[in-house]
């Protein structure tokens, strides 16, 4: 057989692909699953700032049937430009790969200019409650446990606080076993003070937030009686200069108290160290996470935290504007961070992209957490002006090469997955309970997409669903360390992270070929530490604080 040069050229990518086959595919199952959601940005041609922010998504098991349900936040038409009625959507997981829209039945078919979502069981009744952040008044929906939600915004004391809220998260800031609520606010904006920005001098574009004043984030402390008090000033979080879009939980110094990282758009990022007495100290500048390595405040959007290098220390990823590249602040364990993106392939891969949602997860189950980022420009006209950029942009799936850098695999895991989108929200969960991490993403003024993770390399996983007793019931803040075959990896149960979105609370650890976790350590938010030996992989273990493993079920399929 005669082999031409063309054959060789064609064979090279195929061989390269074969050499580093990701071992899994992310298959678009949106239609098969019955998700027919489309985001309404409300845009009617005036290019008002909130229209480009997108909306978040979340995985939650609202009915406690063990299957992760889907919540998709939505915007609405502007007053005076009413065309259709749009609400957020709650899709119940039928357990067979399909979902049913139960929004109306759940009492969530409420019109609002929704942006983000934070899921947390703030009343510790076992049923996850919802905070929807909005332009205007945020909404708190209490899960009644019978499949319905009740709007308790006013009753809970969160009412009469109009702002431009974005990401939010639930965490126990004081160690009282109750989830407090942290809400990011973006800028002081209203249609009346909307500034006309233009990149080409002719057509209006969406402004970057320099045009508006910042707004303080909020911390609402849970009184335990179903009401909240504004503890922003008391906790030292009051800061009207910030223009916050993303927030994430971490423990800077391993003192068991949760600290906060806040990604700010065109303003320095903030890192709030929890002093333990209900107050926080802002240390972003000295910790090295406020600015880029060249001292510039970047357009921080989404954020996630993970022990991606298996050092036992948490690092922070922050998505930024195009030409700013993603920030990967690697922790030194002593409260200091170095952005390793500019000196690594991460910077090169992400430099041209405008990132929003980002999630650390072990997609290929090799025991190393990968990083998934969804991208999309904020403005079609500005994207035209940014040569090499685009309005819709493909996602980055950065596979962790066992601690030796990352490798882009966005197009290798499925052609549908690698398509350019105006990406915003991003959340992950094992919605089909087969022991791997599936992906949900939202597009601004576009459809939400569900991708099922289909493993082909035969790697194993182990999952943990934690339930606090002395700690908050969701065990938010709990750290789980898994040791197998001499390696050690850690993850934290968390809300927030990504952009406007929330992933499931259970943790999935990739085990590669290992058949069991030799040792599992759980550090509960209460301070209790529990150890488990020889937990089998291929199963999901339900751990209750103080009671150990109460249930252990094999993965489906």
């Amino acid at each position: 057989m005669r082999i031409s040069r063309r054959d060789l050229l064609l064979a090279v990518p195929a061989l390269a692909g074969a050499a580093s086959a990701p071992g899994f595919q992310l298959r678009d199952v949106t239609t098969a699953a019955g998700l027919r959601f489309r985001h309404n940005s409300g845009a009617f041609g005036e290019k008002l700032l909130p229209e480009t922010m997108g909306a978040g998504c979340a995985f939650l098991d609202f009915d406690r049937d063990g299957w992760m349900d889907i919540l998709l936040v939505n915007g609405m038409d502007w007053p005076g430009h009413k065309r259709t009625r749009t609400t957020l959507a709650l899709y119940r997981n039928n357990g067979d790969g399909t979902f049913t829209d139960v929004t109306r039945k759940a009492g969530l078919d409420v019109e609002m200019c929704g942006l983000g979502v934070a899921v947390g069981d703030y009343d510790n009744d076992g049923f996850p409650d919802l905070l929807i952040t909005c332009l205007g008044q945020n909404r708190l929906f209490r899960n009644l446990g019978d499949g319905r939600f009740q709007d308790v915004t006013e009753k809970s004391g969160l009412g009469r606080r109009e702002s431009f809220s974005t990401s939010a998260l639930w965490f126990d800031s004081t160690g009282d076993g109750l989830l407090d609520l942290f809400v990011c606010n973006y800028v002081r904006w209203s249609p009346e003070i909307d500034v006309r920005c233009s990149v080409d001098g002719k057509r209006k574009s969406y402004c970057t937030p320099e045009a508006y004043r910042g707004e303080t984030c909020w911390l609402f402390r849970n009184r335990g009686d179903g009401t909240f008090e504004d503890a922003t000033a008391k906790a030292g979080l009051f800061d009207t200069s910030s223009k916050s879009l993303g927030a994430a939980l971490l423990d800077l110094n391993g003192d068991g108290r949760l600290d906060l990282f806040v990604a700010n758009d065109t303003q320095p990022n903030k890192l709030y160290r929890n002093r333990g007495n209900g107050s926080f100290e802002e240390i972003a500048l000295t910790a090295g996470v406020a600015f880029s390595e060249d001292g510039k405040a970047r357009a921080g959007m989404g954020v996630d935290v993970a022990d991606y290098d298996r050092s036992g220390r948490e690092s922070i990823a922050v998505t930024n504007f195009n030409n700013e590249m993603l920030a990967l602040f690697r922790g030194d364990g002593k409260g200091g961070f170095t952005d390793v993106a500019p000196s690594s392939e991460i910077g090169r891969i992400t430099r041209g992209s405008l990132g929003f949602g980002c999630v650390f997860a072990d997609f290929d189950l090799d025991g190393w957490q990968d990083l998934l980022v969804v991208n999309g420009h904020i403005d079609d006209i500005a994207a035209e002006a940014d040569a090499g950029s685009g309005y819709p942009q493909p996602p980055h799936l950065l596979l962790n090469k066992a601690g030796r850098g990352f490798q882009e695999a966005g197009v290798d895991v499925g052609s549908a997955f690698g398509q350019p989108r105006v990406g915003r929200g991003l959340a992950t969960a094992d919605f089909d309970l087969d022991g791997d991490v599936d992906v949900l993403m939202t597009e601004n003024a576009g459809p939400a997409k569900l991708f099922r993770n289909e493993q082909s390399a035969g790697r194993r996983a182990i999952r943990f669903e934690l339930q606090g007793v002395q700690s908050n019931r969701d065990a938010i803040g709990a750290r789980v360390v898994v040791e197998s075959g001499g390696s050690r990896q850690s993850q934290r149960v968390h809300t927030g992270s990504s952009y406007l979105s929330q992933s499931e609370l259970p943790l999935t650890f990739g085990m590669d070929r290992a058949e069991r976790a030799d040792r599992v350590v759980v550090e509960w938010p209460s301070g209790r530490v529990e150890e488990f030996a020889r937990l089998p992989a291929g199963r999901r273990h339900r751990l209750v604080e103080g009671k150990g493993v109460v249930e252990s079920l094999p993965f489906k399929g």
């Binding site: 303080t216 922003t232 009051f238 800061d239 009207t240």
Partner: protein, 445 residues
């Protein structure tokens, strides 16, 4: 050649050319030095004045930005609507204070030298009094006396803030003005350099033009002299040849007319004397024979000095005759190829030159070529005549031209006199070809 020597000695162009080169080099060096000085000046102006000014302005803008944020915070604090106590703003004020102090410190280091000490200290003093008032305000706020804190903001902090803002704005304006002045100065330097570049270019062009012009005129004179010398030499050669021909002709005529007649008469007398005396002595016959030989010698000499055959038979006949003579004398086999048509009448003097060239060429064949045969071709092409003498001999000896005697030189001179072209070629196959091409109507110059 005394004439040429005297002309060459009169002016030495090298000195003047070197002087021109020196002037141009000096001009380039001077202008380079001047340009470097101007660039240094520009750099100094840009670094010391403009860059420093800009960095100072950046610090002033940083101060202004902080002041603006403080103004907005104070407005939020006094106008109500905020659910937060005034004390909550302390962190923002503290942050602004740290940044302002740092900006002020850096600004002081960068401040233009022109700024007065009073101006500088006014800024820091005003800020200090602002911080003092701020501390008082937050003390009141911490004590729960918000109305007093708000009063302090309105009546003390905001007026002081306004005064500082005005000062910073003034400093920014004065920086701007200084920058504009520096920009004007830079513009002036650029203008000067531009103008001087034109002057320099004009001067260098002038120097190059003068030197070049001088060289051109020198060359023209030299070429003129050479042309004149060549002409003079040619005239001299022509005259020499003419004089020689005239002399030869007169000598030949004398020989023919005087000695020839005398010897012919003597021969005739001796013949008659011999016929009369039946027993003529042997001596008489010998005398008649000597006389006859002398007559033949005189005729041959006369013929060589002036080929009368030319006058009698024309060029074509003379050439054929001479070729025959040479063949008879030397045994050289000569293949003579006469012209297809008779030659038109040719000026006598032109014919003599052509004939002499032919004689010399054939003589060379006999003397030098060692060839046994030669070809002689005579042709006419319209008004042009071609004479070619070719042999298959040894060719020219490798000795220098000067050593070859005057034969070749005379051939060339004669060819030139009749406006002809003489070519002597040595074909690769060997031998020598002498080719003369001349206008038939050519006249003697």
């Amino acid at each position: 050649m005394p004439a040429i020597q005297s002309r060459s000695k009169s002016v030495n162009p090298t000195t003047r050319l070197l002087a021109g080169l020196g002037v141009i080099s000096a001009a380039v060096a001077l202008f380079s030095l001047y340009s470097l000085r101007q660039v240094d000046g520009l750099r100094a102006l840009q670094l010391d004045a403009i860059d420093r000014n800009r960095r100072d302005s950046l610090q002033l803008l940083r101060i202004q930005n902080n002041l603006q944020n403080l103004a907005l915070s104070m407005r939020d604090m006094t106008e109500g609507g905020s659910p937060y106590p005034l004390a909550a703003y302390r962190t923002e004020f503290d942050r602004a204070r740290v940044d302002l102090q740092d900006a002020l410190e850096q600004e002081r280091r960068l401040a233009p030298a022109a700024r007065s000490i009073q101006q500088q200290s006014f800024l820091s003093d005003s800020l200090q009094s602002f911080w003092d008032a701020m501390d008082g305000m937050f003390a009141a706020a911490d004590a729960g006396d918000e109305p007093e804190a708000k009063r302090l903001i309105r009546q003390v902090l905001q007026p002081r803030h306004a005064s500082i803002s005005t000062t910073v704005a003034r400093l920014l304006i004065s920086n701007n003005e200084a920058e504009q002045e520096a920009a004007l100065e830079i513009e002036r330097i650029y203008d000067n350099v531009e103008r001087n570049t034109y002057y320099f270019m004009a001067a260098v062009f002038a120097a190059i033009f003068l030197t070049g012009g001088y060289m051109v005129s020198r060359n023209r004179r030299v070429f003129g002299e050479i042309a004149q010398l060549s002409e003079e030499r040619q005239q001299l050669a022509g005259r020499l040849i003419t004089v020689q021909e005239d002399l030869f002709e007169s000598v030949a005529r004398e020989l023919h007319d005087e000695f020839g007649q005398a010897l012919t008469a003597a021969g005739a007398m001796l013949t008659r004397l011999e016929r009369k005396s039946t027993h003529a002595p042997e001596e008489l016959r010998e005398v008649r024979s000597v006389t006859h030989e002398a007559l033949e010698g005189v005729r041959r000499l006369s013929q060589r000095l002036h080929p009368n055959v030319l006058d009698d038979y024309g060029l074509e006949g003379a050439i054929e005759w001479h070729a025959r003579q040479i063949r008879d004398q030397s045994g050289l086999a000569i293949d003579y190829r006469p012209p297809a048509e008779p030659l038109p009448p040719i000026d006598r003097e032109v014919a003599i030159h052509i004939y002499r060239i032919f004689q010399e060429a054939l003589s060379n064949v006999v003397k030098h070529s060692q060839a046994g045969a030669a070809t002689v071709r005579l042709e006419s092409h319209g008004d042009r005549l071609l004479l070619e003498i070719a042999d298959a001999g040894a060719g020219f000896p490798a000795e220098p031209a000067a050593a070859r005697g005057l034969g070749l030189v005379a051939m060339r001179e004669r060819a030139q006199l009749i406006h002809g072209a003489l070519a002597i070629e040595q074909p690769p196959a060997g031998g020598t070809v002498v080719r003369l091409e001349a206008p038939i109507m050519g006249t003697k110059t």
